[in-house]
């Protein structure tokens, strides 16, 4: 469906956007690109969507070399009409209603009006936009604009989807609806390329995860393959009053521990079963426990493993400067 080989991009300021990244997707694949802000996720999506040129490197879309298609209007048009794009920022004609915007983009994709109306109505119902279709989009909230953007990207039933942070700003029912829509399309052979920083979304959605760091791929594979690399250790954070002593007695199942003022961060291979022993060991030192947090390993831990940096610092309670890779 798509194959990007050694694609690169340097911004006009000279900043590297992407350096020799190779990524591909077959029909039905859901390729999720993860990485911190500025890692090149959006740049990669913009390159694959033909918005930006890749020099050097090559991009093949639907079996055709992209650069050769770009010079010919008909080829370019036909190629772009096979893709549905959700940009990170929802942009619409603000004075038009949701329905008018939807029909505008459907028509730009070449859909006859009756077909456009039927397809867009079905999508807006699935995404919970029905009540707002007669309202100018300037009155939409961010989440509503995002829903509209998703409906516009899917209205022409594209063979490939390129979605930049598609779930950002969506309410939980719409996130579920979006996942279902993407899975249904995937079963019909639609290839999806998604950029996100949400490990849960990536885990649920991806058939392949690509981890980007500073414009380069640091790891890729299925979510299960990548999670296996971190060994499945459960992370336990015990928040205490005062500083834990260095000679804290450790239960046998604890595979690593970090002692910080006010915090003990342990990793357990036996999940939360180790908790009673750990709590006992902490209380035995005379410290008081304020709260305990448990977190199963996710793709942020995989990213940490490969780069030593947090994928999404906001998602963690506190950044762990100086953490060593497991």
């Amino acid at each position: 469906m798509f194959a990007a080989t050694d694609i690169s991009y340097t911004y006009s300021s000279g900043r590297k956007g992407l350096g020799k990244v190779s990524v591909d997707g077959a029909p039905g694949d859901r390729v999720v690109v993860m990485g911190p802000n500025g890692s090149g996720k959006s740049t990669l999506l913009r390159l694959v969507s033909t918005e930006l040129p890749s020099r050097p490197g090559s991009l093949t879309l639907f079996g055709e070399a992209c650069e050769s298609s770009m010079g010919d209007f008909r080829k370019r048009r036909d190629l772009r009409r096979r893709i549905g794009i959700v940009q990170d920022t929802p942009i619409h004609v603000e004075d038009l209603t949701g329905l008018e915007n939807g029909l505008l983009f459907a028509e730009l994709y070449g859909l006859p009006r009756a077909e456009a109306l039927s397809a867009f109505s079905a999508l807006s119902t699935s995404l919970g936009l029905d009540d707002a279709l007669d309202v100018p989009t300037r009155e939409y909230s961010y989440g509503m604009k995002k829903k509209l953007l998703i409906a516009e990207a899917l209205v022409h039933d594209p063979e490939m989807l390129i979605l930049d942070e598609p779930a950002l700003g969506l309410d939980p029912p719409t996130r579920v609806a979006l996942l279902r829509m993407l899975e249904e399309r995937s079963e019909r052979g639609v290839c999806t390329l998604v950029a996100t920083n949400e490990p849960e979304l990536a885990k649920k959605l991806a058939t392949t995860v690509v981890l980007l760091h500073e414009g380069e791929v640091v790891a890729h594979g299925s979510p299960a393959e990548l999670l296996a690399k971190v060994g499945g250790a459960t992370r336990i954070e015990v928040h205490v009053t005062g500083s834990p002593p260095a000679d804290l007695g450790l239960p046998a199942d604890i595979v690593s521990i970090q002692l910080r003022p006010g915090r003990i961060i342990a990793e357990s291979r036996s999940g939360p079963d180790v908790l009673p022993q750990l709590v006992g060991a902490v209380l035995a030192t005379g410290l008081k426990i304020e709260r305990i947090e448990l977190r199963e390993p996710d793709l942020t831990d995989v990213f940490m493993l490969y780069t030593g940096q947090a994928l999404n610092p906001e998602a963690l309670n506190r950044p762990l400067e100086g953490d060593s890779s497991p």
């Binding site: 969507s49 033909t50 918005e51 930006l52 040129p53 770009m70 209007f73 370019r76 048009r77 036909d78 190629l79 772009r80 009409r81 893709i83 794009i85 940009q87 920022t89 942009i91 619409h92 004609v93 004075d95 038009l96 008018e100 505008l104 983009f105 028509e107 730009l108 994709y109 070449g110 100018p136």
Partner: protein, 237 residues
Amino acid sequence: MNLAVWRAQWLTALRRRRLLAFNILIPLVFVATIALSPAPDVHAAATFTVLFALFGTFGSSIPLIRDGESGLLRRYVLTGVHPGGLLLQHIFATATLDLIQLAPSVLVIVVAKGSSAPQAAMVLPALALGLVAANALGALTAALAKSVAEGALFSAMAALLLLHWAGTFRTPVPGTWQATLEAWNPFRPLHESLLAAAGAGGPDLDPVLLAIPMGVTVAVLLVIAAAGRYAIGLGGR
């Protein structure tokens, strides 16, 4: 041909009723003030020409720059729409809207100055041509500008320069290279027709005089259609 962008422009203009009213009333008040004043007709005609040309140029360049900055034009182009076709739809939609918004002002000129029927009849096609040219000029300046302020500056400078080369600010001297240039200039019929309508002693405009400027305008539009993909900001893609 897919006219979705044309329709979107019209719907947007009709939704912005306050702006629509201002776009009709402000030129009307300005034109009426001058047309009903004892200002010399030649100066009045030049002022009307400048107003109408800038109205078209600004009205085209500023929305294009704004839509470019917001990323809307990129969204359009990524649907596969022809960038040149998109620009042409924009130019013709805004030029037609300009014509409708300026029609009451033209009526005031014709009535206040007591123009003859042939003089009045020539203003409309000349204004239509001038507005298409002005909107095309706006699209070209929008391609060069990196902000709305730059767009306004470039539009004003380019329009005023072309108006100067159309003979708006001086008495034409037949047989000079400037006179040849004027014959090609799409703003010249507008100025000539307004001079005649304002009663400045200008000749009744021969419709044939529209032919060459119309040809030049069509040529410019063809260039815009062909080079549109370089103007919209996807690096020619």
